[in-house]
Amino acid sequence: MTYIQLEQVSFSWPRGEQVLKDINLAIEKHDTVALMGPNGSGKTTLGKLIIGLLAPSAGRVLLWGEDAAKYSLAARGRRIGYVFQNPERQFFASTVSEEIGFALKLRGMSPEEAEKRVGEMLGLFELEAYADTFPFNLSQGEKQRLALAAVFALNPEFIILDEPFSGLDWLRKQHLLAMLARVGETGVGYLLISHDEEMCARLCSRVLHLEGGELR
């Protein structure tokens, strides 16, 4: 059974511009895949089709061997983590710890367990110093790390990351690289959307190129 599969998937915006044409793609659970392509080539669109924020205009997305249309956003989100291109898009809480912990509690984890998990994530993503900071006041690199920590805390089997390196300087990139490598070592697969050739080559075993709406 293929973990994520796209069959002849096309996508057009309601106004008619076609972004993706007949995409076929199979990703296994432990795959580390890079998705590259010029600005506006439809990388974000492809990620959103997989996670269900957009629905294909034609073709099917299959998750875990079944038509993904039958899964709710929450059902997909329980197994696949999604980190937005703009991390602010996914922040809700008034502190960094709360941001990491609130979904855990809403999903029924006991407060003690949740607190322990939050502590681990703060450590793993080097955010201890900011535990009580308002997420919107973090720097770009810290925001990226928090977005990753909040998603990773939920123990996803697979993560989709949309341009996590954008806006980071060389040093911050190296940090994030190390963290993603750690994520990969825990056996979690990912789809890394990025322009950064070096990062893609170092983090991923497979590189996809999206151009003119088609995968190469």
Binding site: A74, G77, R107, F136
Partner: protein, 250 residues
């Protein structure tokens, strides 16, 4: 300050929109509404508004059209019954006419407002100021109107982002649901605050309100054609309203 003639002026357009919308609200007779729609479309064509763009915008409101038409035809039972169920009149000729009138009315208003798309935001602010509206007020109102769709989109995105964390909004207890909605207000409000702070900084950087009086790059003047149209639009509307009060037209 440059004196520039830019026909039609914002004030002319506002007068025409005001005239058309008040007529659309006042008139009930479908035939007169049809005529008004024709006049409105003629104005749009004459002014050079793309009807294709307009249609696209009307399409966005198709649910509104449908619901209003349905409500009209269900609640208005006058005239001949066309469809009845157990003695209830579901659809009558009066209801059908009422629905047609309601649809025409919205189409006219939306089309008339389309006239304003000829002017950009800056021109609207200048136009409103020239009509005596305080500048800051005109500016803020137009700014707020422009951001409503953005805020709505952000709220929808945030809702999706919470569900993507595996939280099933339908399945959680009410207490938690309320907490989630209070969470959702955070990013939307923070986004709005951050955006307005950015705009404020940008405005101050451009010396907004640094001096008590503003100097305008363009201060359009009304040409005789503008005056003619304003007088015709307002006078015509007054005339039709008079006829309506006298009961000559419905």
């Amino acid at each position: 300050m440059k004196d520039r003639q830019d026909f039609p002026d914002v004030r002319t357009l506002l007068a025409v929109v005001l005239a058309i919308t008040s007529l659309a609200i006042a008139i009930n007779d479908s035939r007169w509404l049809l005529l008004l729609l024709a006049i409105t479309l003629a104005c749009l064509l004459a002014a050079g508004v793309s009807l294709k763009l307009l249609l696209r915008r009307l399409r966005r409101y198709r649910w509104l059209f449908f619901i209003i038409a349905l409500a009209q035809s269900l609640t208005n039972g006058s005239g001949r019954a066309l469809l009845a169920w157990r003695g209830y009149v579901l659809l009558s000729s009066g209801g059908l006419l009422g629905a047609a009138a309601a649809l025409l009315r919205i189409a006219i208003i939306l089309a008339a407002v389309g006239l304003l798309s000829l002017k950009d935001y800056q021109q609207m602010v200048v136009g409103l100021t020239q009509m005596g509206v305080p500048y800051e007020f005109a500016f803020m109102v137009l700014l707020a109107v422009r951001f409503i769709p953005v805020l709505m989109e952000e709220f929808r995105d945030s809702l999706a982002a919470i569900e993507l964390r595996g939280v099933d909004l339908k399945a959680i207890p009410l207490k938690d649901k309320l907490r989630v909605y209070s969470y959702l207000l955070m990013p939307t409000t923070a986004g709005a605050l951050i955006r307005s702070r950015r705009i404020a900084v940008a405005m101050e950087a451009r010396a907004f309100r640094a001096y008590p009086r503003r100097t305008w790059l363009e201060w359009p003047r009304l040409i005789p054609w503008d005056w003619l149209i304003i007088v015709l639009a307002l006078g015509g509307t007054a005339g039709v309203l008079y006829l309506k009060i006298r009961g000559v037209i419905a």
